[in-house]
Symmetry: D2
Subunit: 357 residues, 4 copies
């Protein structure tokens, strides 16, 4: 028998064996090992940018197409072109543009998914969490913690648009998603506006309180009790930092939002960041295992991800996939908000990063 | 225009709108919200059992079909019937039966995935981790930590079969998988056998050492420096516990393997358990968000998952999906090893459980 | 032999035995057990108050009596009347009034003792810590962390007086005191004023920084990297808190200064607090194991400690011994700063408190 | 006026000023600063050794002199010659030899002080903690946690002597000592012997239990739920460690007893150690801020502390003061148990050590 024939026999024998394995719900690892345990991450997500100027009309059209009440949440999901039909902007994260027209309300509900809101356009809508309302302005970072009742209302006379970021794919992957509608529809106000920021955001804490605002808290996975981080304050932090000019070659100045109760991340699964790039700044190459979603607050420039160039100006949203070399260039002084699953990766011992030279 | 016509128009208008959204990589959340944010978990995985008596011959046949060296790891993957073609036993975990024939070696490599071995059959094969070899016997629970070099060798004169459990799907989902082959092929022995257990497993610790054995350690995600938890010792712990007869109605006696450096889980993403059910014991219903893989060490009985009845005897492996009511019945005194992603869920604030009455 | 004679014999025999024990550096526990293991704390410290109006002239006189340079630190120690000659205000804490005249400097040194400054009078002196200077105003709480170089200078044209609080007795009791003079005399300025507050006091943190400013950090015993907590900001926190009117019957509103890196105490051994009592407020009785030093910022009233009544007005300092029932009464709206060894007691598992009814 | 006269005037003026300060409970820091903030620790405790051979008769004599019941605890306090009349072996720790004659009982009580027992002579007495009794043998390390009921009884037919170590001076210094007699006199047995070791000492933990056995637990200051660490097991740990021959030049092999719930110290304020010195081993010089009490289990040798030489053989107790250079020499293979306040110092950020060359 020739070698080729032997080989064919072997292949045939193996195939027959595999069929018998399949009948027992088994499969040969050696046929799939390389894909299962790759040399390095090979994300399906691709770099992509959503230009707000092109999307704003679609947002307003959605506002006419369906009521906030019918939609429950009127959101245009930003879907990664590499993950079509999956409602994901990265493998583990969801993002969308939520639109609230004047006078509208989005009814109260709760879910185990963590949610962030980053305001792109409009003033004067509120988010209510556990009895406290906070009025939102552009650049504000607002948290609705897991399993906390939350609703939104637009009491201004203009549309309000914000970027939603949630860990929906991650929670679904872990088969740990629960949700519930609030029979009260809109929750009553029980605490004065600004209460959580006043209580937890000043460097002093109420004596004896070390725990958050009702969110699920297991194994240190608490959410920050501060649920609105105003842009004004975060921007001032960047401004003060620049005095010392300790620029990071890969990031400019990049701060992370924190939980004042423990100094950790503000959210249990999602890391949030604010970043300053001076006019003319060009960063060195960087990559990390946390695919990252960026939203422009101020400035103009571009991000190169491999061969792709993503141009950005205010209110644009773009995404850099996991483990992809990228650089930022700022034509004007630029401020970028961003979020990723870095806290989840760190807690599981999986986060890695690499800096170019 | 009739209401039906209006409705049709609306539907058509929406569909047209959705097409325009799609062109911009956007999608309407309100069409998919219910699936994305479910009332409660709806796992795709189903209950299933693998009877060792039926699989043993297939294991040995695999031993003739392909060499350990060619396969790199000769494993028959246990694939959940609800997740065909995905190499998963649950949504986030991988399991398989690894076969090592007399004299064979599985070459050294490392990866960021965490791996556990639970020995089903055979004596005298070794697992080497970071320069130390441990000889494995039935019921032993052995860890190969993330990014630690590890190889296996069978120096006995009989086949060795163990259950592998890894977090491959989870790590791939997070785009955080890295792997590397060891140029040394088989790593040299640098520490005496039993060293890690002696150093870390007695209730005393070397002064000044508070850290593990080279694994990635970020945010407390360390792996136990004890990498072999012998069955004899774990079994004795159950036996001592039973003296006090503090039976859990849902679990009998169920212990978790721990990391002596911090009292936490032995592995960063996977929880491991050993459980005793006395003869005749029937547990109350229980469900939790962590789908769980069980392996029988001693005894005989069955687990009912909803309408499914999974009969088990020694060396059988079965799986209970997430958030599925189930009960155990032991005909004989039974000892079950099990593992799940509970540590990952706890760290992310997502673990939930419910006990029947 | 009579019983009295027997007893005398026994007493004599025991005394002789005790002498022989003493020769071997031993002693009978049963003669001292009650004192060594008391039913409850029996502090030697007593309640006391220092009225600033009576002390100010002495402070200025000290300013003429000795130069800041000759004194190294020109401080009038507040000595508890129950602990004479011991330089202690409580058993474990030291307090004093430090005076810096216009143009004076207190040279740079460092020590393992933790120090706090709470400004009573004057504007425009600075404290420098590790290359950063902070300008001090009344009500500011300033930290000089263990083993950090620090110096003070008064660049204003008026005297400056602040309350010093240190853990000198505690550190000496533990035989763990080290100190060193700075060969530079006055340390150079290396960071812009406000840098530490900007970097660490806004709710965002520099990415990757989780650690303090050079202080000894073992076992989580870090000092806050924010070393000036301005009164204006702390006062605003109280004002915001009062909106919710969640008054504590024993304390009014009482906040603790925190370390933004971990949410814990701002200092490793000393807890610091700011407290608001509305006009007319009278607290319920309270006692705790942490003897506490208070300094009045605003208001007027009195504290009853057992039978003692301590009247207070702005800049007065008073002390409540450990485990002593006490109440506060505010004639006017009052703000009290306070400090105690509560963090040390909590870390050692020793803190207890009790509330009256 | 001459300079001498001026100087006298100044001295007189200062003295007069100091008198006026004293009338206000104040004192000039500059007269005491050097003593309060020393260059380095200057302990009052001195090196000392207690030879068991010389003390045993005194122990037995105490057994005839007073009953265990009358004494409540029949203990000969080991008093540091540098701290006479203070019932201290170091500045912050108490030690004594407790004697229990055949048939005697020491009644149940509890206190906030932590206590350790290290058995020197005898078999078969028990210590009961929270309903569980443990039988004690030479070399066993037994804990009675803060605020836990504990009693002792000698059911053997020979005297039993053990070394007591408590944090009495530290707790009293912090004014945090509470104690209570148990109305039950001797507490009933509620758990089988060995229960705590079986539950917590095997590397597995009961699922869901992460907390100790009733002791005060604030801020992570828990006591190990294992309350008897048998010598046999600890000795085996040393034996296994020696296989790797990773000798520490300053300590030989030195292990610390740990709390399996968190990997930290077994007791909240006192660190406990077991140490092996091979025959002929001489350590390099070492000093640390934790004054340390040693008890010999096996072997013979000496410890040099500065100019003092402390000769030791089995059951001897000796003390090395804080920050004192010392070396050990073992004539025979020696095993030393030791304890110090190192956990307290670490938690407060005060521990320092230095190694000679």
């Amino acid at each position: 028998m020739t070698t080729a024939a032997q080989s064919a026999n072997t292949a045939a024998a193996r195939e027959a064996f595999y069929q018998r394995l399949a009948a027992k719900n088994m499969a040969p690892l050696w046929e799939s090992l390389k894909g299962l345990v790759p040399r390095e991450p090979t994300p399906n997500a691709v770099p992509a940018v959503w230009h707000y100027a092109e999307l704003r009309d679609l947002c307003l059209e959605a506002g006419r197409m369906i009521t906030a009440r019918e939609a429950q949440r009127r959101v245009l999901v930003l879907e990664n072109p590499g993950l079509p039909g999956s409602s994901r902007i990265t493998q583990s994260l969801y993002a969308g543009l939520q639109v609230l027209m004047p006078g509208e309300e989005a009814p109260s509900h709760r879910h185990t998914q963590s949610a962030l809101r980053f305001v792109l356009e409009g003033h004067g809508a509120y988010t209510a969490v556990d009895g406290e309302r906070t009025t939102m302005s552009p650049g504000d970072f607002v948290i609705t913690p897991p399993w906390s009742w939350h609703d939104h209302g637009n009491q201004s006379d203009a549309p309000m648009v914000w970027l939603d970021g949630l860990d929906i794919p991650l929670v679904n992957f872990l088969d740990a998603g629960f949700s519930e509608d609030d029979p009260r529809d809109i929750q009553p106000v029980e605490r004065p506006e600004g209460d959580s920021l006043a209580r937890y955001g000043t460097g002093l804490l109420p004596l004896g309180e070390r725990r958050g605002n009702g969110a699920a808290e297991v194994g240190g996975a608490a959410t920050s009790p501060v649920f609105n981080y105003p842009y004004e304050r975060a921007r001032a932090a960047l401004e003060a930092m620049r005095k010392r000019e300790a620029w990071d070659p890969c990031a400019g100045l990049r701060l992370r939002y924190t939980n004042p109760l423990d100094g950790g991340w503000a959210m249990p699964t999602i890391g949030t960041f604010l970043q300053l790039l001076p006019a003319g700044y060009a960063t060195r190459a960087y990559r990390s295992t946390d695919a990252t979603v960026f939203a422009l607050v101020e400035g103009r420039g571009r991000t190169k991800v491999g061969a792709r160039v993503l141009e950005w100006s205010p209110r644009d949203v773009f995404v850099v996939p996991a483990w992809s070399w990228h650089t930022h260039q700022a034509d004007e002084e630029s401020v970028l908000f961003s979020f990723s699953n870095r806290p989840a990766q760190e807690k599981l011992g999986l986060f890695r990063e690499e800096r170019g030279t």
